[in-house]
Symmetry: C2
Subunit: 474 residues, 2 copies
């Protein structure tokens, strides 16, 4: 009898699994006698005790039966079975699964890890000093954090710290009872969709759009209406006359175009929402990094009718693999959102929440943001200077007063030529990312999203040189 | 003009917010002149610079306009607005929200924090030594964990460690490519529901049932069929003849009855699933804590047709506020499950994953489990002895070879008398929990779930004394 040991764990465990595979696979039929322990031991070059233990375990699992002196037999109810197939596919088992299979790729993933300079905008600024600071917070937090199930809505100490933080930085006055801790903007979107949207409901998203928000809404199942944006943000005069349940916007720094929503547009949007009793989701993903005097307060700070669901995340301002964010929720929706959070995952990890609360309370987050903004300004200026000097005649750069990326348009370029440019860049170790993937209506002029957060100013300088050379050569 | 400063942040920020509230609240109408900076400064007893800064900020937000010498005016497009209402309710905005509002209370929450001895089963064993061990793991992990967006499916190093662990402890041979890291059993349920279930689909759950699984499925929206269990687990002969999409079971230790599913029932369930091409979700919530020789291998270890979705969690075996678990997924469903995880939260926090991988790899988890099992056995024996000696004539105790709770039945009791007992217990500092809340068909005999994990053996001794006294007095 051929038995293959898989090398995992103790010998008797390997032997038990091998015999079990034989029994379940039908190679050892129901009622058949297992080899004498002495014979099997010598066949396999293992001790007889190993075999005895394995047989005992099979019996304790009722897969085999020991018959006094006559030996051990495979249980009778073991009919031969076929072995499992290799990776195979089934048709989508739910409408949700069917929709997810139709979605595009994950825009956050680096296109090619191979590339030397990737002007990707999914990767924020990461500072080594942050690692040790965060490590200390975690260590302290681990000592005095409650280990039992955390409060579903989030730790009160963190919700209070967030209220103080956004009052200072974003002009948002929030009640800790209206804050729900989530594991980031993505979860906020998914929970808000569950609480607000059925498949019949209309949702307005910006065009161009943040792809993962679009994907979350598309997968959830609802009617998506794209409304164009310009240099003043969402064009509110284009908002649908038909009933709308939710408007998803990035007012502080439209993604990816980079525009900031003007006050009059903000007022029009708020009026639209309160007239139609619909909701606004404000995704403030990088509103804290602004390069002019003061950050522009969040849309939520103008929301006297309590229609704005404000979503903040620590992914961009601290680090993405932290997976922590928050929702400032209209009072009418807090209960439903907490219920959705409970059923989604019973709340966020507690130690991280304690650590983040102290990170905010101690002022370390504020310092980190000041340093981060200064460093981002430096990198942004390098990108602007580099492009002006190496690629100025090809690229029309749209400046932006906030965030981690700029947009560069290529007047006179065809999309074929853009594809060539991106491929040439790849060959020369430069990761370039077209902007039109984010548009529902592809613009006439091709353009690039130029992320500058994850490269040093020296790298950015080199990247722009390579970019200039590529542009000259296509 | 009355202005109320909220005391949060710098004075100029407080003043800006107060003025903004005045403008947005309509108390300062569009076009009206703001007080002269000197007057306001002396009114409020603040420096004139504070007022100047506040006015500048209002102008930068276009809420006010500075007119050379003549002063600062409220912008004209500011119509008077009503102030926000206090916490109010709206009708459910989605079918999901409507369903969640109809759900029962959260069974994990302690009934009364006031109670001295709570025989609650939602609280696992927590050891102080674990805290320092986990703290060290976190500290080490923080130093070498990737800060960028984590892999959606989970860190490969953790998926590998889990495969080794469950091969050793649960007899499950899994391929790391089929493991998806989730934030616990609750998220596993919610994601599996999204991938497998539309509202037309039937799901079988056990009766009695784990309430949070029931709630997640109910909220998701599907047709729930309860099938009774006995001392051999799910009564497979009662499985519906109609088409079923998913069967949710707790075979290692049925919750809350405590029975273990027999081999023949396991085989019948697997046959049922493969004949009907339906799926089985095996919730192995505490299968690792067994008090007899070896843990019984998971149902998944018998699954040669790849129909079992195996769900493991670190909530019970490490600590609940960690929020980390895993799914061993049939190959056919891995892609859909990872897509659902991506859209739900973009993956689990990375530092915890690194720490858990090392916690397993180093053998610390295994040691922790050995110690934990020994301690749980001690506490369980205390509970059994205590009840035999103090409440033996009232309670028929059902022993169980695994887990963190026992069930005690009260023959001859009415439900009215049970209610009296629970109330009397509460008055005397004893938290008692009726089992019938977990049944869809309320049993004739009332009973209690007796959780013993979160109390020391001394506390358990005292608790049983109090229980005995209460039983004699009702």
């Amino acid at each position: 009898m051929h038995l293959e040991l898989d090398g995992t764990g103790a010998l008797y465990e390997q032997l038990t699994r091998a015999l079990k595979r034989g029994i379940l696979g039908g190679h050892l039929g129901g009622g058949s006698k297992l080899p004498a322990t002495r014979d099997l031991a010598s066949d396999l070059q293992v001790s007889r005790n190993t075999v005895l233990t394995a047989y005992d375990l099979l019996c304790s699992e009722q897969l085999a039966v020991a018959r006094g002196g006559s030996g051990t037999y495979v249980a009778h109810n073991m009919a031969p079975r076929t072995s499992p197939s290799a990776r195979y596919t089934v048709r989508p088992q739910s409408r949700y699964a069917a929709r997810t299979r139709r979605l595009g790729p994950n825009m956050l993933a680096r296109t090619q890890a191979s590339v030397r300079y990737d002007l990707h905008c999914g990767e924020p600024l990461l500072s080594p000093s942050l690692v040790s600071a965060w490590r200390n917070e975690l260590g302290k937090a681990a000592l005095h954090t409650e280990l039992r199930y955390p409060p579903l809505q989030g730790l009160p100490v963190l919700r209070q710290a967030i209220c103080d933080h956004i009052a200072r930085r974003r002009g948002v006055l929030a009640d800790p009872d209206d804050v729900v801790i989530v594991s980031g903007t993505q979860q906020a979107l998914s929970l808000v969709a569950r609480v607000l949207l059925d498949d019949v409901h209309r949702v307005v998203i910006e065009d161009p759009r943040y792809e993962l928000a679009f994907q979350a809404l598309r997968a959830h199942g609802c009617r998506i209406v794209s409304v164009r944006t310009d240099e003043d943000g969402l064009v509110t005069s284009d908002l649908p006359k038909a009933s709308v349940r939710l408007v998803y916007v990035t007012p502080s720094h439209q993604f990816p175009s980079g525009s900031t929503m003007s006050l009059s547009r903000r007022m029009e949007l708020l009026a639209y929402a309160s007239e139609r009793r619909c909701w606004i989701l404000e995704d403030d993903y990088d509103g804290e990094f602004r390069f002019d005097s003061k950050p522009i307060p969040a849309l939520r700070s103008l929301d006297v009718r309590d229609r704005v669901i404000y979503v903040g995340s620590f992914s961009k301002i601290v680090f993405p693999s932290l997976r922590l964010g928050y929702v400032v929720c209209p009072k009418a929706l807090v209960g439903d959102l907490v219920a959705a959070k409970k059923l989604a995952d019973l709340g966020c990890p507690a130690i991280e929440q304690t650590a983040m609360a102290e990170f905010i309370r101690s002022g370390r987050l504020e310092r980190h943001l000041r340093r981060g903004t200064a460093e981002l300004r430096r990198r942004r200026n390098c990108l602007i200077d580099g492009i002006r000097s190496h690629a100025g005649k090809h690229i029309r750069l749209i400046d932006s007063r906030a965030g981690m990326h700029l947009t560069g348009w290529l007047p006179g370029f065809t999309y074929a030529r853009l594809a060539k440019l991106i491929e040439l860049g790849r060959q020369r170790g430069l990761g370039l990312h077209a902007i039109h993937h984010h548009y529902s209506v592809v613009p006439d002029t091709p353009g690039l999203i130029l992320g500058f957060a994850s490269l040093s100013h020296i790298q950015i300088g080199n990247a722009t040189k390579v970019l200039g050379a590529c542009l000259d050569d296509v």
